[in-house]
C-alpha cells in the first residue's frame, strides 16, 4: 500500500478495495461518488494498472501493489500533476480531483505529451460535475510541459 505492507483486519467479505482504503487503511482520498465504476473518483493503481477501486473486491487486492492519490506527493512536496491542477484552476469542489490526478498521472506515464484528444479519451471515465473540464485539460497540458524530461 503506497510502498508499505499494510494489514486490514475484520474486513467484511463483501467489501470492495475502496471500502478497505477508506474504512480500514485511513486513506479516504479515493472517493465514493458512484461505487459502480462510472465516475472514476476512486481511481487507484493496482499492480501499476489504473482501476476503479470500487470495482475491485477487497480479497482480489490481497498481496498486490496498490498506489493511491495519497502516494503521489512525496515528503510534503506536491507532484507536478497536483501542482498543475491547482494552478490551472481545475479544482472546485475537488471530489473528482483525486481520481483525476491519478488518471492524469497514469496518462502522462504512458503518453508524456498527449494531445487534447488523447487527454479527452484518457479521462473519459472521470466525471467532474463542477468545472466543465476545460481547466482539467489545461492542467494536464501544464503538467505535461512541466514534466518534460
Amino acid at each position: 500500500m503506497n510502498g508499505r505492507p499494510r494489514v486490514a483486519e475484520d474486513v467484511w467479505e463483501g467489501t470492495n478495495l475502496l471500502g478497505v482504503l477508506r474504512e480500514h487503511m485511513d486513506l479516504p482520498g479515493s472517493k465514493n461518488a458512484c461505487e459502480q465504476g462510472e465516475c472514476g473518483s476512486c481511481s487507484v493503481y493496482l499492480d501499476g494498472r489504473l482501476v476503479c477501486a470500487c470495482l475491485v473486491l477487497a480479497g482480489q487486492a490481497q498481496g498486490r501493489d496498490i498506489r493511491t492519490v495519497e502516494g503521489l506527493a512525496s515528503a510534503g512536496v506536491l507532484h507536478p500533476v497536483q501542482e498543475a491542477f491547482l494552478e490551472a484552476g481545475a479544482v472546485q469542489c475537488g471530489f473528482c480531483t483525486p481520481g483525476l490526478v491519478v488518471a492524469t498521472h497514469d496518462l502522462l506515464t504512458r503518453t508524456p505529451q498527449p494531445t487534447t484528444m488523447e487527454i479527452r479519451e484518457a479521462l473519459a471515465g472521470n466525471i467532474c460535475r463542477c468545472t466543465g473540464y476545460a481547466k482539467i485539460i489545461d492542467a494536464v497540458h501544464l503538467a505535461a510541459s512541466r514534466m518534460r524530461p
Binding site: 462510472e38 475537488g94 460535475r129
Partner: protein
C-alpha cells in the same frame, strides 16, 4: 495569501484537495461511531398501516431503530412550507420517502436491519400528472390542496393585439444536480443533551434552526460545522440526513455517521422542476414585442421545498431579458406523488429560457428576421421595466452580450460529406463526430447548426426575504506579523468562496496573512450558498467587518503616533497618503486584538402583489448569452456540441479564474439538460437512479467554451460585483437546442432532446 480582489490566487483549500486529504463529509470518523441507515418507502403513495421494528432490533449490532414516534419536536419541516415529515407518519407521498431509521455498529448491519423493518402499506394510486393535480377529482395530497403556489402577473394592456403572433408549447424534463459528494455527515452527541453535526450543506443556520425544532432543543445546543462539500448546485438546500443522524446520535449517545449511496442520493435530495410552458408572443411587423402570454406549470412533486420561489422566478422572468409592454403570465407549481423538486442552479429561469428563446426564434422566422437582430431590437437595458413593473438598475447589457457572441469566430466547418469514406479518405477523428467512438458515422448524414440564446435571473433571495450575511474579522499579531482571521458561516461548496473571502480581507486590511476559519454556527448566519448570492452578501459582510477593523486600526495609529490624513493599510503597515510606512501593524498592535462583527444587508425587496404580480421584488439581475454550434447525425438523431461561446456581465471579477470556472462548469450543466440528463420517472418511481443510467456530461461531451467576461459594475453591490454562478446554466442549453433546430429544421419542443425527437422512428 496576499492576493487581492481581481487576482486569481491558488485556492486555499486546493492543496488538501489535490493530495486527497481534504475531509469531505463522507470521510469523517469518530471513536465508537455507529452507522445510520434509512428505511424508505417502495411506493409513491400509500397509507402506513403498521411499522414493526421487532426483527430489526433483534439483529446483532443494532443499537436503535426509530420511527416518527421518536421525533421529539416538530414532525414536519421545509424551507418555505413545513409539509415534509422527518419520518413518515400515516402516509408516504413519494417513492423513497424516509419511514424509519437504524443505527448499527457496521454499515452492513445497519443496511440489513433496515431491510428487516416491516412496514405494512395500503397502496394508493399515485397522482403523477401535474395537470390532473389542478383538477377537483385529484386526491388532495396536502391539507391546503395541491396548488403549492399560483403566481399571476398582469402587466400593461391585457387586450393588446399584434401584427404577428407565434405560439408554442414546451416541456422540460427533470434534472438532477448530481453533486459528486454524497449526502453525508457525522452527528456527535455531547454530555449535556446537545449535539454537534458535521455536515455538507449550503446553509448551516437554516439547517440548525430546522434541527432545533425537530429535536426540541434550544438552538445553542445544536452546533453545526461545515464538513467538506462535494458540490451542491441546490441539492443541499434541504435537509437530507441531518435530522436523522442527530436523532440516532441523541438516542444512542454515540456518534452516528450517515452517508448515502448514489441510488439513495437520487431520493435524498430534491430535483429541478420539470415543467410545461405554453406561450404566445405578439409583435409588430418591425419586430417589436407587443405582448407575451404565458402559462407555466411546474411539477413540484410530493413536498414544497423551494417551489414557491421557483415558480416566482419562472413567472417574473417568463419573457426573458426583453422589453415587453404587455404581459399576461399565470404560473402554478403543484403537489404530485412524483419526486420532490426544489432548487437547482438557475431555478425558474432555466425552465422559462427554453420557452422564451424558442419563441424568439419562431418569431424571427415568422418575421423573416435574423434571430439575433430580433433579440437586440427588444433587448432589456438599464432603465427598462420588467413585467413585474420593477425598473432595471445597474448594467443590463443584453444587446452588447448578443453582439459579442455573434462576432466571435466560428469553429472550422464540417468536412464535406463523405470525406471520411472510401479510398483516399481523410483520417476521421471519430471523437469529433456525433456518436463519437461508437463509430456510428464517418461524416455522412451529419449537419451543422448554430443557435443563440440569452437569459437572465435574479441574484439573491427575492420578495422581501431578509437576505443578510454576517462576518467576524479579527486582527492580531502572530509571530511578529499581523494576521487577519475571517469567520463566517458561509458554505464553500466548490465555488471558491474561502479564497474570495481571503482576497477581500487582504484588500481591505493590506495584510498578507489571512486565515479563513472553518464555517460553523458559532458566528451569525451567512444565508445560503445559493441564488448566486454568496460573494455579494458574505463578500459584503467581510468587507464591512474589515472596514470596521481598519477604522479602529487607523484610530489607534492616530492616537499612538499622530495623524496623517489619508493614511491607509498596506503591506502589513499603516502607510501615509504619500506611501511612506508610518508604523508596521506588528508594532502598532503589539498584544492588542481588534475584532469586529458586521452584518451586511442588501436593499430590501418586496413581495409580488397577488393580483397583478407587480413589485420591486428583486435585488440584482445577472445576464449571459450563449452561442452553440452543434453537429447532428440526422439519420440516427445523435448530437455533438462542437463549441459553446458565451458573454456574461459579472460586474467585477473578484477572482477571474474562479469566474471562468463558473462559466465553464455552469455551461456543462446546461448542456446536460439540453441533450443528456433526465430523471426518468414512471408512475412516481425513478427508473434511473444511478450514474450508469443517469447520463452526465463527460470530458468527451463537453466542448471548449469561448468566453467574453464583461465587468460593467453595479452601483449597489460590493466592488460592483454581480452574482456569477447561475447565468451560465440558463442560456447555454437553449442555445444548443436552437442549434439543433437550425441543423434539423425540426421544432424540438422538449428537453432533453432525444434521438427520436430528431429522427422519426
Amino acid at each position: 495569501m496576499s492576493a487581492r480582489i481581481g487576482d486569481s490566487p491558488r485556492r486555499a483549500d486546493g492543496p488538501p484537495k489535490v493530495r486527497g486529504d481534504f475531509a469531505y463529509s463522507s470521510d469523517l470518523k469518530a471513536g465508537g461511531m455507529l452507522w445510520g441507515a434509512t428505511v424508505r418507502s417502495p411506493h409513491p403513495y400509500a397509507r402506513i398501516l403498521a411499522i414493526d421494528t421487532t426483527e430489526a432490533r433483534a439483529l446483532p449490532g443494532v443499537l436503535a431503530v426509530l420511527t416518527h414516534l421518536d421525533v421529539p419536536g416538530r414532525k414536519l419541516y421545509g424551507l418555505e412550507i413545513q409539509d415534509q415529515p422527518v419520518l413518515a407518519m400515516d402516509v408516504v407521498r413519494c417513492w423513497g420517502e424516509a419511514v424509519a431509521l437504524v443505527a448499527a455498529d457496521h454499515p452492513e448491519h445497519a443496511r440489513r436491519a433496515a431491510q428487516l423493518v416491516r412496514v405494512t402499506y395500503e397502496v394508493l394510486e399515485p397522482l403523477t400528472d401535474p395537470e390532473r393535480a389542478l383538477t377537483d377529482d385529484a386526491p388532495r395530497l396536502h391539507p391546503g390542496g395541491n396548488i403549492t403556489r399560483y403566481v399571476k402577473i398582469r402587466h400593461g394592456d391585457q387586450k393588446a393585439r399584434a401584427d404577428v403572433v407565434v405560439n408554442g408549447e414546451y416541456e422540460i424534463g427533470m434534472q438532477d444536480q448530481a453533486p459528486l459528494g454524497p449526502e453525508s455527515g457525522l452527528a456527535i452527541p455531547d454530555s449535556a443533551g446537545g449535539v454537534d453535526l458535521h455536515v455538507a450543506t449550503q446553509w448551516l443556520h437554516v439547517d440548525r434552526d430546522q434541527l432545533a425544532g425537530i429535536l426540541s432543543l434550544p438552538p445553542d445546543k445544536v452546533r453545526l460545522r461545515l464538513a467538506g462539500v462535494g458540490g451542491a448546485f441546490g441539492a443541499r438546500e434541504d435537509l437530507s440526513m441531518q435530522a436523522h443522524a442527530c436523532l440516532l446520535a441523541l438516542r444512542t449517545g454515540r456518534p452516528v455517521k450517515m452517508s448515502y449511496s448514489r441510488p439513495e442520493s437520487f431520493v435524498g435530495h430534491v430535483h429541478r422542476h420539470p415543467g410545461k410552458l405554453i406561450y404566445e408572443h405578439g409583435a409588430t411587423r418591425e419586430g417589436k414585442l407587443v405582448y407575451v402570454k404565458a402559462r407555466v406549470l411546474l411539477d413540484g412533486g410530493a413536498y414544497a421545498s423551494s417551489s414557491t420561489a421557483v415558480i416566482a422566478n419562472a413567472c417574473c422572468f417568463a419573457v426573458g431579458p426583453y422589453e415587453c409592454p404587455n404581459a399576461t403570465v399565470d404560473g402554478w407549481v403543484v403537489y404530485t406523488n412524483n419526486p420532490p423538486c426544489g432548487a437547482m442552479r438557475g431555478f425558474g429561469s432555466v425552465q422559462n429560457c427554453y420557452a422564451h428563446e424558442a419563441q424568439m426564434d419562431k418569431l424571427a422566422a415568422a418575421l423573416g428576421m435574423d434571430p439575433v437582430e430580433l433579440r437586440k431590437r427588444n433587448a432589456m437595458k438599464t432603465g427598462s421595466r420588467l413585467i413585474t413593473g420593477q425598473v432595471v438598475e445597474g448594467s443590463a447589457p443584453v444587446a452588447e452580450l448578443l453582439d459579442r457572441i455573434k462576432k466571435m469566430p466560428l469553429p472550422s466547418p464540417l468536412p464535406p460529406q463523405g470525406a471520411g469514406l472510401g479510398r483516399g479518405a481523410r483520417k476521421v477523428d471519430l471523437t469529433q463526430l456525433p456518436g463519437g467512438v461508437s463509430n456510428t458515422t464517418h461524416g455522412e448524414g451529419v449537419v451543422r447548426g448554430v443557435g443563440y440564446a440569452v437569459g437572465f435571473k435574479n441574484v439573491g433571495y427575492s420578495e422581501g426575504f431578509d437576505d443578510y450575511s454576517t462576518a467576524r474579522v479579527r486582527l492580531s499579531v502572530v509571530n511578529g506579523r499581523p494576521r487577519a482571521e475571517v469567520h463566517t458561516a458561509a458554505a464553500e461548496v466548490g465555488q471558491g468562496l474561502v479564497t474570495v473571502q481571503a482576497q477581500i480581507a487582504a484588500t481591505e486590511l493590506g495584510v498578507s496573512d489571512v486565515v479563513v476559519l472553518d464555517a460553523d454556527t458559532q458566528v451569525g448566519s451567512a444565508g445560503s450558498s445559493s441564488a448566486s448570492r454568496q460573494t455579494y452578501v458574505t463578500g459584503g459582510a467581510v468587507k464591512a467587518a474589515c472596514e470596521a477593523v481598519r477604522e479602529r486600526v487607523l484610530a489607534l495609529a492616530q492616537s499612538e503616533i499622530g495623524g496623517s490624513t489619508g493614511a491607509r493599510l498596506e503591506s502589513d503597515a499603516v502607510v501615509s497618503s504619500r506611501g511612506e510606512v508610518m508604523v508596521t501593524l506588528g508594532t502598532l498592535l503589539g498584544d492588542a486584538v481588534i475584532e469586529e462583527t458586521r452584518e451586511f444587508r442588501p436593499r430590501r425587496t418586496h413581495r409580488l402583489d397577488s393580483e397583478t404580480g407587480q413589485a420591486d421584488a428583486h435585488l440584482q439581475y445577472a445576464f449571459a448569452a450563449h452561442r452553440a454550434v452543434v453537429d447532428v447525425d440526422i439519420e440516427l438523431g445523435l448530437v455533438r456540441v462542437v463549441e459553446l461561446a458565451t458573454a456574461q456581465d459579472v460586474g467585477k471579477a473578484i477572482n477571474p479564474q474562479a469566474v471562468e470556472g463558473q462559466l465553464e462548469g455552469g455551461a456543462a450543466q446546461g448542456l446536460g439538460l439540453a441533450v443528456m440528463e433526465e430523471i426518468q420517472v414512471k408512475d412516481g418511481v425513478i427508473r434511473n437512479a444511478s450514474f450508469t443510467d443517469y447520463l452526465l456530461p463527460t470530458i468527451l461531451d463537453m466542448p471548449p467554451v469561448r468566453m467574453d467576461i464583461l465587468e460593467l459594475g453595479d452601483p449597489h453591490s460590493p466592488y460592483g460585483l454581480k452574482g456569477v454562478g447561475e447565468p451560465p446554466t440558463i442560456s447555454s442549453g437553449p442555445a444548443i437546442v436552437a442549434a439543433i433546430r437550425a441543423a434539423t429544421g425540426r421544432p424540438i419542443t422538449r428537453v432533453p432532446v432525444r434521438p427520436h425527437d430528431i429522427v422519426d422512428t
